[in-house]
């Protein structure tokens, strides 16, 4: 159980975390979402007492982290995978952590085995890939067999097998009744892992709810229709008050009408349908719609996108336009945002 009350952190004149209040419950995976620079990592540092809050408090099991008797036995955390001394072997790194909390040596061997680093245990971590470093960080978090776990962007740098492993691990930990709090800027990742989500943007709480509710409340559902008579159907839909946009070859994406209504409209207009389905908006989409105004670093269309995915034509209105808004509407499982490959919280959206 992690409780955060009125948590605020100011760096100079910039509010990195702005009056956050939320609780992370045991027994499930809680996703902590927000665009790069939203304040996720800062919040986690505040929870661990690494940074001092400007105001407010963060509690773990009802105590400040610094007040815990054996911190690692109550809460395990992975902040940055590379926050290790590269000259030290994986084994000695974990051993020096274990010793601070009177954790026996054999436990070090066990967690090394759990994360699959036994064979490189005596190697200096300098030579580790980012994925191996993430595993080492997770091993450190698990050392004390804690009831509360907190991971900051744990899938960064992992290959698909590694991502699946972390996902399963987090779900297994939650299934054992532990509190699992995991941050990500990849909404698609959370969609398949978390049950609850806490969304922040520019340090402020945007949503604190379940995944399903979040999508239902924050994204308009659409209806996908395939028909050989696209033009007739588009007219009929428009006449019935919906909006139809082209969904590819012989297909339309309809907004503002339910599947029943679209079916009735098609029947009335004598249009043959080959497919009629609801499309539940992905978390990615809901997230982008919600945080469009609070993206910390925006790339203007005129300035060009660092990833080269921005359309050449200026956006209507010509104003500032978030990269994240450029995902085409109506396509399920929108591709991950361009920041996917960056490791740095702040590197993604800036040039």
């Amino acid at each position: 159980m992690i409780e955060v009350r009125g948590l605020t952190k100011r760096y100079g004149d910039k509010l990195a975390v702005d009056n956050l209040t939320f609780a992370v419950e045991p027994g499930k995976v809680t996703g902590f979402l927000g665009p790069n620079g939203a304040g996720k990592s800062t919040t986690m540092r505040l929870i661990l007492g690494l940074d001092n809050p400007t105001s407010g408090e963060a509690m773990v099991h009802g105590k400040r982290y610094r007040g815990l008797n054996y911190p690692m036995r109550e809460m395990g955390a992975l902040l940055e995978a590379k926050a290790v001394h590269g000259g030290r072997s994986a084994y000695n790194h974990l051993l020096c952590l274990a010793q601070t909390n009177d954790i026996p040596k054999r436990r070090v061997d066990e967690v090394l085995g759990l994360v699959g680093l036994t064979e490189v245990a005596k190697k200096r971590s300098k030579g580790f890939s980012l994925g191996m470093s993430q595993r080492l960080g997770i091993a450190g978090a698990l050392l004390g067999d804690p009831q509360v776990l907190m991971f900051d962007e744990p899938v960064n740098g992992l290959d698909p097998e590694g991502i699946r492993w972390i996902r399963n691990l987090m779900q297994a930990l939650a299934a054992e009744g532990r509190t699992v709090f995991v941050s990500s800027h990849l909404m698609s990742e959370m969609e398949s892992t978390a049950q609850d989500i806490i969304v922040i943007g520019r340090g402020k709480l945007i949503a604190n709810t379940t995944i399903d509710k979040f999508i239902a409340e924050n994204s308009t559902g659409t209806v996908k229709v395939r028909t050989p008579q696209v033009d007739e159907l588009a007219k009929a839909v428009a006449a019935a008050g919906g909006t139809a946009t082209s969904g590819g070859d012989e297909a339309l994406v309809v907004q503002g009408l339910t599947t029943d209504q679209v079916g009735d409209v098609a029947f009335g207009a004598g249009v043959r349908l080959h497919e009629l389905s609801t499309h539940r908006a992905s978390l990615e989409q809901a997230f982008m719609e919600l945080t469009a105004d609070s993206v910390e670093y925006q790339a203007t269309v005129q300035g060009g996108s660092p990833t080269g995915t921005a359309p050449a034509a200026p956006a209507p209105g010509g104003g500032r336009h978030a990269v994240t808004e450029e995902a085409p509407q109506g396509i399920p499982a929108a591709p991950p945002p361009p920041a996917h490959e960056t490791q740095d919280e702040h590197a993604g959206r800036t040039n």
């Binding site: 540092r45 902040l79 940055e80 590379k82 601070t100 450190g140 004390g144 054992e176």
Partner: protein
């Protein structure tokens, strides 16, 4: 990479604990840290080689060229200082290790992992300083005693009797003081390292204070610099491994007390900043 598994069953439970994480645990942890990186061994080896090597070289040259030495050189000759002269250079090596003991935590990012495992900063700081002090003291005493004994053996080869022994006045205090000096120099740099959190800056400042400041003061008119010198950390530190007392100095322990006071001030200053700053 080995096959990964999500089987939680293979993890056995931890034996229960009472009370709270102790200072001893963090001391063990800090000892593991300092013994598990190569830079520690390299630095300590360089300290020994420089301190002992320079002392041996100087004593050998003194003994083999004794007959060519001038009367004033012979008059100012001090066998203890002669054999311990390497400490002057050794201090800069321990400054590097003292700084890096804390600044490497920052340059690697390890500090955030360390303070997550032991969030009580006072415990962490005391454990780190204590482990470093013990290691610096042991190596410093080894360097000082070996340099002294090897130096006296070489001085014994001179045509006349010029070597000394621990039983002569002030000699034991000076040789033991050599080790104390090494540890104190390292701690001084450790405190500065905690304040500035940057390896190069910490080493530069420590060497500046210990080496450059006395040179500048020496350029001042002697009526001034004699009054200033006795308050300098460098002078205070070196007095403890000399058998003679300069005119402008307090007795050896008094001078060393000045250096320890500076060291304590820097360590306390570092601690105050360490406690309240974001990691």
């Amino acid at each position: 990479m080995a096959a990964v598994t999500t089987e939680r069953a293979q993890l056995s439970g931890l034996p229960p604990v009472k009370g709270r994480a102790s200072l001893m645990g963090t001391i063990r942890s800090e000892f593991t840290k300092i013994r598990s990186v190569r830079s520690t061994y390299w630095t300590l080896l360089v300290l020994l080689v420089i301190t002992i090597g320079i002392g041996v070289l100087v004593c050998w040259l003194t003994a083999s060229h004794w007959n060519q030495a001038s009367l004033s050189q012979k008059a100012s000759f001090n066998p203890t200082s002669n054999s311990l002269v390497g400490l002057f250079f050794g201090q800069f090596v321990i400054v590097v290790l003292g700084s890096m003991t804390i600044t490497a935590e920052y340059s690697t990012g390890m500090i955030r992992t360390s303070l997550t495992s032991m969030p009580r900063r006072g415990v962490f700081y005391v454990a780190k300083a204590a482990v470093f002090t013990v290691i610096a003291l042991i190596i410093g005493e080894i360097a000082s005693f070996v340099a002294f004994f090897l130096g006296q053996v070489l001085l014994g080869t001179a045509p006349v009797h010029i070597s000394t022994s621990l039983s002569s006045p002030h000699v034991l205090r000076a040789v033991v003081g050599g080790g104390l000096f090494v540890a104190a120099c390292g701690l001084f740099a450790f405190g500065i390292g905690t304040m500035v959190r940057h390896t190069a800056a910490a080493i530069s400042i420590a060497i500046g204070v210990l080496f450059v400041v006395p040179i500048i003061v020496n350029f001042l008119p002697s009526s001034w610099n004699n009054d200033i010198l006795r308050f300098l950390p460098s002078e205070g530190g070196q007095a403890i491994w000399r058998t003679t007392q300069a005119a402008h100095e307090w007795p050896a322990w008094g001078e060393f007390g000045v250096f320890l006071a500076y060291t304590a001030a820097v360590l306390i200053g570092g601690y105050i900043l360490f406690r309240k700053r974001d990691a």
